[in-house]
């Protein structure tokens, strides 16, 4: 066991720091890595989860057509909303996504504006929701889970995630310092050597993807910079965030509704003007503040295109007249470009499919790094307590807790993902609150797995839960074939490639879980291992 004593060298004290900073937050980090890796393909996940949209995948609608259809829909359905948000179709997302904030009623008193958010997904060809299409939050849920968590106010989730991320940064840096043979062991993976194998695996996925791990942890903190470190804004702007945002000039300031109403000017001329200003780059997002009021404001934000910087320029128009008011973000300050580029590297919206696949693979390496680190702690601690455990027949409380949490998180989370995708296909289409029911399936399945893990954190339970995760994930493409007409038999031959990619990725992850369950069984069948004494010896080596 790693202890901190006076007079230790730097490496030993860093080993202590690495062990405990990593262990404290590893289960949250595992969730963050898994949901974050899924977020790299959140549009693709959302698409897979909306099979009714697959038919319109090959239709090409121009941004102007899509925008005017969405406008017409919003004028019918939500003319008195406080704000409209339109996301136009792009290469990764064929649908129009709409959100609006409906006017507050007496029931909404004391609730945040988020509670009044209404969302719709439109078919760009017709400009209306597809009749009978299932409602789902799709990949958006996994994306929000990555930094907001769930079942708690978003800001709490963000503070918890920020705390864990800071520990992660500490764990990465101390891990590099404490690794004695970073170059000599660069490619080393010794199989069937107990604790030594776990250490090798942890080192391999951590060191070989180290540029990614460092980048993603640091830029992750930068994404929520102004939440974690508001003091600069407080000192210079006296806490007036609006003044700060106005000076940053990346989005139009919000307006209070005026008393007079006035119809909105058509959107196409504004789009044409914006696209001309951006030398042909397409628009991506349209926000309308106080639609159908005399002081309505229309903001059109450019597609980020092939820029790493996420802060894309915005053109602001008077909603009633269509006159240009401002052109924001054409020339950004260096600090803002730095921040935008770091956030861009984190979210990787710029990444074309192949690069996205590399980010996805690195994210999986991150999840494996956290998992192998957590397992290594448990294996090492069990070995150093082996004599006491053998004498008393009881596992120390802390060790049992960590083993159960490891099992519940590492084997449980794939079950939760599998349950989410199964629920998407199996729940009745017209179920009320269907998106919430899918999310309940995610957490319900995870809670069940975590409870089983707490009840009996044994090797047999590892096999049961890993096998359950494998069956659920391998079952996803099968279920897709039974419930939709865009299954692997079709998509492998005629595309679309993204849907085939989803099925194949989930299938591969399921097979990997199945292989893990099978290997556990194989090793259990041969309990007397020749390598056992050697593993004990290397335990001494590592903890020195």
């Amino acid at each position: 066991m790693t202890m901190l004593r006076k007079g230790q060298g730097l490496r030993q004290s860093m080993a202590w720091l690495h062990t405990w900073s990593g262990l404290l937050v590893c289960w949250v980090l595992f969730l963050v890595f898994c949901s974050g890796t899924a977020s790299y393909v959140k549009d693709e996940i959302s698409l897979w989860m909306r099979p009714e949209l697959h038919a319109s995948l090959n239709e090409k609608t121009s941004p102007a057509q899509a925008a005017s259809r969405a406008y017409a829909y919003l004028q019918r359905e939500a003319p008195h909303a406080e704000r409209w948000f339109l996301s136009l179709p792009d290469a990764r997302n064929p649908a129009i996504s709409l959100f609006w904030v409906r006017p507050a009623t007496s029931e909404d008193a004391g609730k945040p504006a988020l509670a009044r958010l209404v969302s719709r997904t439109l078919d760009p060809a017709s400009g209306a929701p597809i009749p009978g299409a299932r409602e789902t939050r799709g990949g958006e849920f996994l994306y929000r889970l990555h930094f907001d968590l769930h079942y708690m106010p978003a800001v709490w989730g963000r503070w918890i995630i920020g705390f864990c991320t800071m520990y992660m940064l500490v764990a990465i840096i101390s891990g590099v310092i404490t690794h004695r043979r970073i170059f000599a062991d660069f490619f080393t993976f010794r199989t069937r050597r107990g604790q030594r194998s776990w250490l090798d695996a942890h080192n391999a996925v951590a060191v070989l993807a180290l540029p990614f791990h460092l980048m993603i942890t640091y830029t992750g903190l930068v994404t929520l910079l102004f939440l974690y470190m508001p003091w600069g804004i407080q000192a210079v702007y006296h806490g007036d965030e609006k003044a700060f945002n106005a000076e940053l000039a990346t989005r139009a300031p919000r307006v209070k509704p005026s008393k007079e109403s006035a119809p909105l000017a058509p959107i196409e001329p504004m789009l044409t003007q914006a696209v001309t200003h951006w030398q042909g780059m397409p628009p991506q997002r349209i926000t309308v503040d106080q639609p159908n009021r005399a002081n309505a404001v229309v903001s059109i934000t450019r597609d980020a295109g092939r820029n790493i910087n996420t802060a894309a320029p915005t053109m602001v128009f008077a909603g009633a007249t269509g006159a240009l008011q401002a052109s924001l973000g054409d020339a950004q300050g260096p600090a803002n470009v730095t921040r935008g580029t770091m956030v861009g590297l984190h979210v990787a919206h710029f990444a074309p499919p192949l690069l996205r696949a590399l980010f996805f693979a690195s994210g999986l390496a991150g999840a494996l790094m956290v998992a192998t680190g957590a397992l290594l702690w448990a294996v090492k601690t069990r070995q150093s307590h082996a004599r006491i455990i053998a004498q008393t027949g009881r596992t120390p409380f802390g060790l049992r807790l960590v083993e159960a949490l490891n099992l519940g998180a590492i084997a449980g989370l794939p079950i939760a993902f599998g349950a989410y995708f199964w629920a998407n296909r199996l729940l009745p289409i017209d179920l009320a609150q269907r998106p919430d029911a899918e999310i309940q399936a995610f957490f319900g399945a995870w809670a069940l797995a975590a409870l089983l893990a707490q009840w009996r954190p044994t090797r047999a339970m590892w096999r049961v839960l890993l096998a359950a995760g494998a069956v659920l994930l391998v079952g996803v493409p099968v279920l897709n074939a039974l419930t939709t007409s865009t299954h692997l038999g079709v998509t492998l031959v005629r595309g679309p490639v993204v849907l085939a990619g989803f099925d194949l990725t989930v299938l591969a992850l399921g097979i990997a879980l199945g292989a893990a369950a099978w290997m556990l069984g194989k090793h259990a069948a041969a309990p007397v291992r020749a390598g056992a004494p050697r593993a004990m010896r290397s335990a001494g080596e590592v903890s020195q």
């Binding site: 660069f186 080393t188 993807a209 540029p211 780059m281 192949l354 693979a361 690195s362």
Partner: protein, 130 residues
Amino acid sequence: MSGAASLPVVPVWPACVAGAAFAVGGFIWLAHAIDRHHADLFGRGAQLSGARVARLRCQGALALALALAACVLAEGWAFGVIYWAGLLTVGALTVVGALTWTPHATPRLARASIAVGVVASIASPWLMQP
């Protein structure tokens, strides 16, 4: 920056194939310069001469530099370096697997990878026609 939209969309996969192949070949050579992996190949006690270590390291470093060149030439500095970092990670993990499960195939794998890298680089101006 704003002119990016007018550029034709060029397929990037030939550069990725070249980058990945150079990364795998280069990392195998770098690994062969490490005592442990040298012993896995030639038996315990097989001594690595200083000249051989220097040559393997040189070859390995050169291959990784070629991987960077393939990425940067195809995608420019900003994107090229990101591609390179990702391909190095995936390539190195592949090499770990190869050294663990088929160490004796790694010298051949290194030569084959470098050959694939060279072919992909030479052919990429044609493969990259949009």
